[in-house]
């Protein structure tokens, strides 16, 4: 282990050494090498976070390194840490390999004690400054190192309370207006607070340093940091580095100041500096909002030389790092110091604009531009969002009712509806509805369509509600544990708040938050840089992107979003419209082959019509149509009341219907009579669907279009299932060709969504012209994990670090991925020209897209609203693979 010193134009570190030095340390070193004014200091590497301690104390090695580093700074500045004369004051800051803003701790003004303060007051002739620094040290050290802080968020901070009282006593408004003596009193009072808490502030500067370094390293595991890492999928084992640096002071007088600035606008991406500064202040004052800072442009008038210098440094840094920078600076007695630079966080809108404009400025290449935008962030550009101000206000008013899983992004506000019918009724009355259900089922589809958003008490990220809502591009929050619905009284309890049907709530589908009442939303914002950007993206990628789309509307949205075909059309979604579900139920209840044929004849023209629309909307592009997949009981009513109504409608005996429903009940429907198993036992259904597809394609072809038909058989476990059904499909298609005297090309393929299918993919490829990985089901069966039930324990799994991510969100590459790779290889071996894609929810997850690209798949298919994300992820995967 070694330390990395920097200062005076030299540095042992470099910008690329972020894993060792953390982002902050690496960039401080880089700035030094660029000749920029950086206060001298050194970085303790990230490995010290884990190996620098034994039984809670610094190891001898780390202690020696600290001494080494100190003497580097002391030599450079000719000041001594802990010496009353020409004392050296230090800042100690954490710095992780990736930015975790505000998540970890910092201590400033380290090295002050009673004696040093007194001497320094003499030296600087600035008692106000010295005791302001000292009281800040006491406050930070007390909080961060000694743990003197309020017990809960409602309790008042004892230091702040004391400070407020002092300002009252001295009749001043701003901290800065407190005179030296007042601050000197505060120092004593702060020491008292620490003592009252049973702790002691060490007068020995070395002990202060050791305490601060320990606290910084320990802060890697504080709650905030752990939570942030979880949310942002940062591995725990990385650790933070620790930067120890000479203090510079923006609060020595009117020729001093401090500020934070971005080299471009982080919200919009517009060029021009964007930031704020305060005269006579320390950096934390800008962030804390204690005084209202000035816009950076005002500095031009106030300190024109410094301003020009700063602007030049901004340019230099942006050019050097070739990215928009987020910079902290301090002015000490008219001398400018840079304390930090890093790539600036930005909205998706800004990210796209900056990337495009930097290409135009020839600062970066197109490929670099493509890599600069996080694929997931594009979702912001496609959905309305809650107005940040209105949302903050709602939170302040305690209107946040609870949280669920952010299943489908966007924001929605409307009246609570506990049934699909009620939602449709509300919409018919000109209201907006939020459908609130324990869970949704295919019967709710019409109500989901009508609603602005969907909220469920149960289910995970790939539950029915989640999948369908994402497909519709509709805001959805699922698995809201705090939610208890009582359908009988048409009311619900969220935490302790009881709400009735018809009351208004607001959902944030990007965070999973549920609010009481209305919150203003903002429409999705796009500009023409996005179009330019996506053009580059499409040029860069080799992986095709298709859409999971079941309706002509979906198909149109998908094509507008850049889909290159339909990878999954779930035909069962076509069966839930009111006039169709009746015919479907008639089919299910048929006692004889004739009755069944009769019911299927009713469905045939409807299906054919759907397919015609799809083929037209995707003219010239492939359309993969999956045969009926869900178990039949999903089409039958479950509640006694509904059974009675349906029996009447169908003209069958209520008891017959009830018995049929019971007979079709399954203990584990996910592993039951569904998928191709339906087609094996009811080949007539598969034949009707084949006929609808082929007849539809022929009629569209006759009208001058080019339908590209792919018929997909779901849930194959054994090659013989596919052999049998392929024969059924071909026989029916041949019948249609003979009847109509014309032919059309079509492919027959299969989902690979069961482990057995993956394991025997070579045998299956003998019959399949294409494979489409159904990674939702494949994840369920490979893990033995029901997506509808996993909500009860999966969060604990992520919490305990067993799983880094929900495997239904990001493909489990080491487990499920093995099967995908195996099936791909076996498939290609048997049939080298086999077309292979993925149509699970993972098709829209950037990491999973990268995995599919690396494997060599032909396409990914995802919901229409994730297509831009998949396109970008595919492009990035291509570029990173090079």
């Amino acid at each position: 282990m070694q330390i990395y010193t920097f200062g005076n134009g030299e540095a042992q570190g470099r910008a690329h050494m972020k894993e060792t030095l953390g982002g902050k340390g690496a960039n401080l070193a880089e700035m030094c090498r660029l000749g920029l004014p950086v206060p001298p200091g050194f970085t303790l590497p990230t490995e010290a976070c884990h190996s620098g301690f034994q039984n809670g104390a610094l190891t001898e090695e780390l202690d020696t390194l600290l001494t080494q580093g100190l003497s580097h700074i002391e030599q450079m500045l000719d000041r001594k840490f802990g010496e009353p004369t020409k004392p050296l004051l230090l800042s100690v800051r954490s710095g992780a390999p990736v930015s975790m803003p505000g998540m970890m701790d910092t201590i400033l003004n380290l090295g002050l004690n009673d004696e040093v303060a007194a001497q320094l007051a003499q030296e600087t002739q600035n008692e106000r400054f010295v005791y302001d620094a000292y009281r800040r040290l006491l406050q930070m050290y007390g909080d961060v190192v000694l743990g003197v802080r309020p017990e809960n968020v409602l309790a008042e901070d004892p230091f702040e309370h004391c400070l407020e009282q002092k300002k009252e006593a001295y009749d001043v408004v701003e901290d800065i207006d407190l005179p030296g003596p007042a601050l000197k009193e505060l120092v004593e009072e702060f020491k008292g607070i620490i003592q009252d808490a049973g702790k002691t502030f060490p007068q020995d500067p070395r002990a202060q340093l050791v305490g601060a370094v320990s606290a910084v390293f320990t802060s890697w595991n504080n709650d905030r940091a752990v939570t942030y890492r979880k949310l942002n999928q940062i591995p725990s084992h990385w650790g933070t580095a620790c930067n120890i640096q000479a203090m510079v002071f923006g609060n020595l007088g009117q020729d001093c100041g401090t500020g934070v600035a971005f080299t471009r606008n982080p919200s919009t991406g517009e060029t021009g500096r964007f930031g704020e500064y305060l005269i006579n202040a320390q950096g934390e004052d800008v962030v804390a909002g204690i005084r209202t800072p000035e816009p950076i442009s005002a500095l031009q008038d106030e300190m024109p030389t410094i301003y020009d210098e700063l602007m030049e440094m901004f340019d230099q840094l942006e050019r050097h790092f070739r990215d928009m920078q987020d910079i902290e600076f301090t002015i000490q007695n008219n001398k400018l110091w840079l304390l930090q630079t890093r790539g600036g966080k930005r909205t998706a809108k800004a990210a796209v604009r900056i990337a495009v404009e930097m290409v135009e400025e020839q600062l970066i290449t197109r490929n670099e531009a493509i890599l600069r935008v996080a694929p997931d962030s594009l979702e912001q550009l496609l959905h309305p969002t809650l107005s940040p101000a209105a949302k903050a206000k709602a939170a302040q008013e305690n209107r946040l009712l609870g949280r669920g899983l952010p299943a489908s992004p966007g924001a929605a506000c409307g009246l609570i509806a506990f049934s699909a019918e009620e939602a449709q009724r509300q919409v018919a009355n000109g209201e907006k509805a939020i459908l609130v259900r324990v869970e949704t089922s295919p019967e709710d589809i019409q109500g989901m369509h009508a609603s602005m958003g969907i909220l469920t008490a149960r289910g995970g990220m790939t539950s029915h509600a989640a999948v369908v809502a994402r497909g519709m591009g509709k805001c959805c929050v699922v698995g809201c544990d705090a939610l208890r619905i009582d359908y009988n009284t048409r009311s619900m309890l969220v935490g302790t708040t009881e709400l009735k049907e018809g009351e208004r709530i607001t959902l944030d589908g990007s965070t999973g938050e549920v609010f009481l009442g209305e919150i203003a939303t903002e429409p999705p914002q796009m500009d023409d840089t996005l179009e330019i950007f996506m053009g580059w993206v499409d040029e860069a990628r080799s992986l095709n992107v298709r859409a999971n789309a079941d309706t002509p509307n979906d198909a149109i949205t998908a094509r507008n979003n850049g889909a290159e075909g339909i990878g999954l059309c779930r035909t069962e979604h076509m069966f839930f419209a009111p006039e169709r579900i009746l015919a479907m139920r008639e089919m299910i209840l048929s006692q004889t082959a004739e009755q069944r044929a009769h019911a299927l004849e009713k469905l045939l023209p409807m299906q054919r019509g759907d397919f015609e629309w799809l083929f037209k909307a995707m003219d010239g592009l492939p359309v993969t149509i999956r045969l009926l997949d869900p178990p039949l009981h999903e089409f039958l009513p479950q509640a006694d009341k509904d059974i009675e109504a349906v029996a009447q409608e169908l003209g069958v005996d209520k008891e017959t219907l009830r018995i049929k429903t019971l007979q079709l009940h399954e203990f584990n429907p996910m592993l039951g009579h569904r998928g191709c198993r339906l087609a094996i036992t009811y080949p007539q259904v598969a034949r009707m669907q084949t006929r609808a597809i082929i007849e539809g394609a022929l009629s569209v072809q006759q009208a001058g279009h080019s339908p590209k038909v792919e018929i997909m058989v779901p849930l194959i476990a054994h090659e013989k299932e596919l052999a049998l059904l392929k024969a059924e499909i071909q026989n029916e298609a041949d019948l249609v060709f003979a009847e109509q005297g014309q032919r059309i090309e079509y492919m027959v393929g299969t989902m690979i969504e069961l482990p057995r299918a993956a394991l025997t993919a070579d045998a299956i490829a003998h019959h399949a012209e294409f494979f489409s990985f159904g990674t939702n089901d494949l994840t369920q069966t490979t893990f033995g994990l029901s997506r509808d039930d996993s909500n009860g324990f999966l969060p604990a799994y992520v919490d305990k670090g067993i799983l880094e991510e929900d495997p239904f969100v990001s493909l489990d590459q080491s487990g499920v991925g093995q099967l995908v790779a195996m099936a791909y290889e076996k498939g290609k071996q048997q049939r080298p020209d086999i077309k292979v894609g993925i149509c699970g929810e993972h098709g829209g997850d950037p990491k999973s897209v990268a995995f599919c690209h690396a494997l060599g798949l032909d396409y990914v298919s995802c919901s229409p609203f994730r297509i831009p994300i998949a396109r970008l992820a595919a492009a990035q995967a291509t570029l990173m693979g090079k």
Copy 2:
């Protein structure tokens, strides 16, 4: 393609050529080579069955071969087929590669027509014989070749009807007493019957031969044959051979006869000839039971020379084939002919005795003896069976109510009980009970114990009822589709018969049949040859056999049956006793850690006691104890009424209990919150169980026993789950060791029962000291197939030939087996001394045992009553592997 001729001490075929010649043809050839008297003939090979026909007619090639074969026979006998003078008559018989007795068709006396018959009557001076042969030909040809037969089983056969009328007209009782003129009349009348059916009997003998050969080959696909093949897992593509042979006649007079005999007793295995014969008859008369045949011993008096000759041939054949033979013979004018020999079918009891005695007679080796007994047949020796006569009578009386799946063998008779409580009540009253449920759940365990047998309307071969019943060695029929139970009226409908609780029924667990009323049973029959035999078996095998056993009783039975340890103790079965389930429910309903700890403290001593018993029963042998596996809702009451009762008993609010039950409800419990997922979320339960195991083992050790403890964690999907739980287990064990001041060795391992576990077995083996394949769950997840729901479509899968066998009965080697092999290799790679076994139901299936042996597993574990089967299967696998 060629024909294979035989006759006069020479033959082109051999006994080992069964795949080409079928069993009958191969053995006819072999007998010829042995110099035994076989009528000359030739065999058309099995390939002709598929390739000998085009558009329903013989190919030219087959036609040429027929001519070739005919001239071989004609030359040998100096007779001509179809010539009126010295005519040759032929028999045409099918013969498949494996014996399919009575399943396929035969035509005798071929070559007779009006002209030939008249000439032959002159030649033989035996009009009675000639027209008897002619009428038999007409009858067989009419039935087999021309399809003139009754439309259904109730209608009378027109030929038989005519024959009966003729006997009445001539006032005779036996067919044989009909005089020549009567038979001559019958010939004309039979021709009339054929003509009335719109068919014609060909007078051209060549046309007769072509028709007969076609019919024999076609008979391979008749319903009887197809069904038999399915039941006996004989592949369809094999085909049958066709044997064409000169006729010999047992019905030429009193110096003629025909018979069937076994070289040993096929029921008991006793030495001594066992068989029957008829004087002046054709072979079919013996089988058809038209006249009552004489025991073979009577032939010694009637035809002493022939008898001695025959006995010598029997000895020669048994010595030559080195197995008990089933032989057909005919005596024509004091000359003996052999028409068939084959290995005789036998009961399990006979198989064991014959095998053991043939070793003692030095006819075969011990290894051959081991291979002579079908492992599955041993089940007959371990369970009571229905008396065949009583069962036949019941069937005649139309008391067969329906059929389900033969889930657990044996026979049981008792009163219908629709609930576990009722079954226990009946037993308390001194009655025998049959528990009849839609399906069983762990709550029914006590009632299952009390009952003689279990019948369910739902579920497959590995449903709860099936698995538990097999474990108890209790007769069980599941998935009886015809059964409708109405718990409300305490009645059930089987087909059209309504039965009330308390009525008597009988189950045959080996066939799945359900009978009305009582049928006498026979106790299991064993003799000391079984013990000798199993001794050889154990010497031969290398694979260990353990038992799945949950109670001390199970363990004792298992050890008596030869178990070498417990491979799976399902601890949850210990929680269902009345006083325990209350504590378990208290644990589940706990709101705080303290409440939970309190409930667990109640369970601890009970669990410890169970384990002490198990360790004692298995003293010195390994005992694998699986931590709690099923989802918690299985322990809670489901019906409103039960919820109320339990709430009262526990002193909790009924509503609280109802809500908890609802909360724990899962859509797909098989993929839900169970297995190690419970231990992850409730580590206290795993710790309590660990403590009970370790404390129990220590106390048993102190008492001088040697417990061998293996703690098994179920449902691992990810290595980190096991890492975490292993730490919990070790921590708790260390606590106990510290408390007691003594230690004991124990292992920690895991089930491999999810595809992901198999795929990442190397990582898992890092923490696991042993693997146990849970192939039930592994089959469910690999196939995506719920064992509780598959009954609805799996039969169709086997019917349509998609699956050759139920994958829950015999391990799917090409799919699931790949995962098992992969996990085994990865496990061994990571930890070369890892112990690997299998504890799914497949552990007792012979084919699966062979697979496990071939893979190199250390042991299989199965239910106590299948242990002898597994031992034998393991021995056979070892021998066949050599």
